[in-house]
């Protein structure tokens, strides 16, 4: 059981300056499972997500207490290089954000920098990543076109492919469909379903129904605290905490 927990947070507090954004969050993420984080705006769910690959480093004046273990190692230990962590823990953002480069170069950008030079390897990587992101069939003939010419939904799948090209273990998704229409959303959700066989996925979503549809585990956050964490089925049919129940059933009062 213990070994299946690829990411763990232990009593994590997080501060923006003097303001505490997360309080005592302890949460285990199981390997090859989709875990959804839900809760109202400002509840800390996105903050937690960005702690998991040290993206919060980019903001000044923040402070982390407690431990975040990735494969048992505290990623906030002083000798840990956040760059390495981010290579192992990929991220997909709310708005699709491909680079203004060709589709091919979008995918190869990071692998090239981390030392993959061989053209054959790169081409293979591009195809594999795009196939995994179920985009290959749509773009295989236009790999040299700018990524900006793709539709919003395609761009988001490209961003997922780009993250996959680094062969990460974990994929963090920060409201990956909130800028997309229902059809693109459905495609991304279906994609998440196939990806979980190979990756551990943590998804933050505004949309409770989405959490219900895609995830195996759900954590409900409120005011910076983890109120309840359980199997998604349990959370949505029979939550253990009154606050969760109220939120799930729309009693925000």
């Amino acid at each position: 059981m213990r070994n299946d927990m690829i990411l763990q947070t232990k009593n994590v507090d997080f501060y923006y300056g003097a303001c505490r954004a997360l309080t005592d969050v302890t949460l285990d993420f199981e390997k090859n499972r989709v875990t959804a984080l839900i809760g109202p705006s400002g509840c800390g769910k996105s903050t937690l997500l960005r702690l998991l690959n040290r993206m919060n480093d980019l903001i000044g004046g923040t402070r982390v207490k407690g431990e975040i273990l990735f494969e048992g190692r505290n990623i906030y230990a002083p000798n840990v290089d956040p760059v390495e962590i981010r290579q192992r823990i990929g991220m997909v953002f709310q708005k699709p954000n491909p680079f203004p480069k060709s589709i091919y170069n979008n995918i190869t950008f990071a692998p090239k920098l981390s030392g993959v030079r061989n053209d054959g390897d790169l081409e293979e990587l591009v195809e594999e990543s795009l196939r995994q992101a179920v985009l290959w069939e749509e773009v295989k003939d236009v790999l040299n076109k700018s990524a900006m010419t793709l539709s919003g939904g395609q761009q988001q799948r490209l961003c997922i492919a780009r993250a996959l090209a680094m062969k990460p273990d974990v994929l963090l998704m920060d409201e990956p469909t909130s800028a997309l229409d229902p059809i693109s959303t459905a495609k991304i959700e279906e994609l998440i379903d196939t990806l979980k066989k190979r990756y551990t996925i943590v998804i933050v979503t505004h949309n409770m129904q989405q959490a219900a549809r895609v995830s195996e585990y759900t954590g409900f956050f409120y005011l910076g605290k983890l109120i309840e964490f359980d199997a998604t089925e349990k959370i949505f049919t029979n939550p253990g905490v009154k606050q969760t129940e109220d939120y799930i059933t729309g009693r925000f009062g």
């Binding site: 409770m208 129904q209 959370i235 049919t237 029979n238 129940e245 729309g250 009693r251």
Partner: protein, 225 residues
């Protein structure tokens, strides 16, 4: 469903309406049973006929309520407790409708019985009706108050009904053996008793569902078989 109001007052109102309708259907079945009991004791054919006629109403209420529940499922996407409540309501309305059918069956048998001479004073049947009515009321009260204790009581009373039914069966069997002319009458009484026993089963099912609704855990079939 207690303290906190749903942000959509309309939704909250609709949930309440479902509860009210269930209680109303429950009240109708109780009334039918009471009338059936009275019709039997007072040999009142008119009353019995009314019961049969009024079963229509319950059938329509059942269809309407089920549609309401499905509408709510489609338009509001309820989750957790609300979802359990609505799916429970769909099943409960079916049980209540069945109870109504049974009551009508009983009334039909009463109509037939009234054409025969009474073989002995009716003691057990009114007693069963009293218990069964209480079970219906308690099971629905349990639903409204989310009271698991009431559910437990209903379950206990069901065994009482089963015992009375068995005892009545044996008693009537003796009557039949003793006097073959009484066979037909006894058969009808047996059927009424059996119907009451089945109503009690339905009430117990409702009570079990309430437990599921409140706790999210199924207790059905635990005590069975």
């Amino acid at each position: 469903m207690e303290e906190k109001r749903h942000t959509s007052a309309e939704y909250e109102r609709e949930l309440q309406e479902i509860k009210d309708r269930l209680l109303y259907m429950g009240a109708l079945t109780e009334k039918a049973l009471e009338n059936g009991s009275v019709a039997l004791l007072e040999r009142n054919a008119e009353l019995a006929e009314m019961i049969v006629r009024e079963d229509d109403k319950l059938d329509q209420l059942d269809v309407a309520l089920e549609e309401k529940c499905i509408r709510l499922l489609a338009l509001r996407q309820p989750a957790a407790r609300d979802l359990r409540f609505i799916t429970t309501a769909i099943k409960i309305t079916g049980h209540l409708e069945r109870i109504g059918d049974m009551a009508a069956n009983i009334a039909e048998k009463v109509l037939i019985l009234n054409d025969f001479p009474q073989i002995k004073p009716y003691v057990d049947l009114p007693r069963m009706v009293g218990i069964v009515r209480g079970m219906i009321r308690k099971s629905l009260d349990a639903l409204v108050r989310e009271d698991i204790e009431l559910s437990r009581q209903v379950r206990e009373e069901d065994t009482v009904i089963d015992q009375i039914n068995d005892q009545l069966f044996r008693e009537l069997l003796t009557f039949m053996m003793e006097d073959p002319r009484k066979i037909q009458v006894c058969l009808y009484i047996m059927q009424i008793s059996k119907s009451l026993e089945r109503i009690a089963d339905h009430a117990e099912s409702i009570a079990d569902m309430v437990v599921y609704m409140v706790t999210g855990k199924s207790v059905r079939h635990k005590s069975f078989s």
